[in-house]
Symmetry: none
Subunit: 196 residues, 4 copies
Amino acid sequence: MTGPKQNVGRPRDAQIDDAIVRATRELLVERGYAKLTMDAVAKRAGIGKAAIYRRFATRQEMIFAATVHGMEEQPPPDSGTLRGDLAAVCRTIAAQLGAAPPDVLHGLLADIHADQALGARFTGSFIGREQYVLGEVLDRALARGELAAMPDVRVVHALLIGPVFFWLLILIGDREQVAALSATVAESVADSLVKG
Amino acid sequence: MTGPKQNVGRPRDAQIDDAIVRATRELLVERGYAKLTMDAVAKRAGIGKAAIYRRFATRQEMIFAATVHGMEEQPPPDSGTLRGDLAAVCRTIAAQLGAAPPDVLHGLLADIHADQALGARFTGSFIGREQYVLGEVLDRALARGELAAMPDVRVVHALLIGPVFFWLLILIGDREQVAALSATVAESVADSLVKG
Amino acid sequence: MTGPKQNVGRPRDAQIDDAIVRATRELLVERGYAKLTMDAVAKRAGIGKAAIYRRFATRQEMIFAATVHGMEEQPPPDSGTLRGDLAAVCRTIAAQLGAAPPDVLHGLLADIHADQALGARFTGSFIGREQYVLGEVLDRALARGELAAMPDVRVVHALLIGPVFFWLLILIGDREQVAALSATVAESVADSLVKG
Amino acid sequence: MTGPKQNVGRPRDAQIDDAIVRATRELLVERGYAKLTMDAVAKRAGIGKAAIYRRFATRQEMIFAATVHGMEEQPPPDSGTLRGDLAAVCRTIAAQLGAAPPDVLHGLLADIHADQALGARFTGSFIGREQYVLGEVLDRALARGELAAMPDVRVVHALLIGPVFFWLLILIGDREQVAALSATVAESVADSLVKG
DNA sequence: CAATAACCGAGACGGTACGTCTAGTCTTCCC
DNA sequence: GGGAAGACTAGACGTACCGTCTCGGTTATTG
């Protein structure tokens, strides 16, 4: 076993976890992803840099944790139709994507894809979770008889989330319209799946 | 008259422009976006750093220029149907997106959105060009009578390109399947537009 | 209170101070003043450049500190005569001037006189110290009755040290002869002062 | 024979020689030796850099030429005494040294001693000329019977010019007092030589 | 009077060092 | 052992300057 012994010595101060997250989010908004420095986070949080690196291995992990916090996405309550379920999933993910400034998400994605290991973790946890949720929704539709066969979840994922992602992060489109876009996409994807 | 003086002093060496672009692309493939350094580009190209900074104000501009070279996208030949035109547009853009490694595109997008001015230029030139092409395609459909009214080009853009973008850059999906995905998306979007 | 906070944070590593001084002196001898680079010093000392710039604001200050180390010159023991005292002072200073290669001293003097602040520090500390020592020696001669009145210390400084300085740094003369030159100068200056 | 053929092609523009010298002197006064750049000289003189490098091999040579111009020092008219001749030589050299700002002379000396070849040229031409003049003066004294034997010219050089050099360049002393210092030095050296 | 050869201003070129900055690690004293 | 403070290594950044070279063009002498 590596790492510090458990239950020995001074326990970590939980307030510091909060302070790091808060400082990171503030500075992300104030200065943007590229100009966020570890020294600035430490100073803003009123702590030492070591306290950060005791919790997160890299800058990317810290921002990841401070930004993408609650990744415990759950399958939506059964709405009774595939279209309704897909719309619910889409809205939830769109809300998460819209919560952070675009430059933060782009910076994070760049860092994630710059590093093999981080990329794998991201795909495994985050992407995987979304596809698990979609899988559940599709299973329900299969059980209901809406679908004749199980489609490729990855393709459905791209069809459903791609447009919203593109709207928010590439077109930097109006966030008010995302709800309408989600509905359109859900309907279109559901029709497409049911039909073929 | 703005711009550099004409016909005065030693002209810029066109071979150097090429050498920079070539070195940048090579190093991007060999080391990835994050590990590309200006010194490395200069050394590989056999030139001084000053020659780079005389042409590009920042690292980002250099990579942008070296990567996103020919942005002279044209409306596709009229296929006779909205679905066919959309599929053609989608395939073209998908091919461009698939040409560069994902980490390069993510790095570029991050840098683009980190800087206000660069973001505006990107949107104006690149995004704008794509939407102009889509507008032409939609105009044809309107003229044909396939569409009753002109839809929001930005929404169509997101619906059409979003899934492909997501597939290639977020899911890091199989590139062989992009053609099939493009077809699916084009059909779905065309149906959706014709119907509503 | 000015200056860095006491007893807070990691203290500066005294070994690094030594390493910088040692590396600077070695490279000064090996390559000369003009070809001494900060990167070379850092590499030779096995440290980062930041550790140097944390201690010295500029290249000049670093070389100054590494070269002009012990400026704690003391009045020589009373030899009983003005001539003997002057010869002792002259020999000491000649030995210091002869310790460093001429190009180092010229480089240093050039940098010192290129910067107002550095020039003032040099004059105040180094020149001032030498003139303090000369003043003590002249006071003794006055007390002995060798001198009727106190001469201008600055003039005596120039008369005594000027020839040795010129010999070593401008004529690049034989260093063996400096002792004889010192004796000649001391005698000549002492005679001149006593007489007039 | 290397170099361009004589009397063939367009002759050099004499106005440019002047313009370079003038621009160099002006900028030396305005910015000092260390901050004088070739581009600045060219711009100020309204010429291209190539025109400078066609005339001078290096920055140092240019400043040397612009500063130390007339090095055609001649033996002074016979004053009838060694003391008088030495005072005349000393005053002449002091006037030359006092003509340029101290930082320029220090910068020049540093550059001269940074390069082996330049150092040799400087010693051979400039130092050599001064010692030739001194030799003439000493020959006269020998002929007059003031001196019993020929002293070492280099030592006389150091004794005579050293104090003035030190006063002007190291002590940065009052330039009004240099005349008096020259007289004192000349008397002291003459006495010293005659005596022994 | 045309050809030749060296000149000219402007400014791009390769190279090199500068002083700054940041990430992630380490060290001190304190609790 | 955790924490704050801050020094540490490593290495890229963008700037500045040097001395050279190249462009279009000019001005003398030579043939």
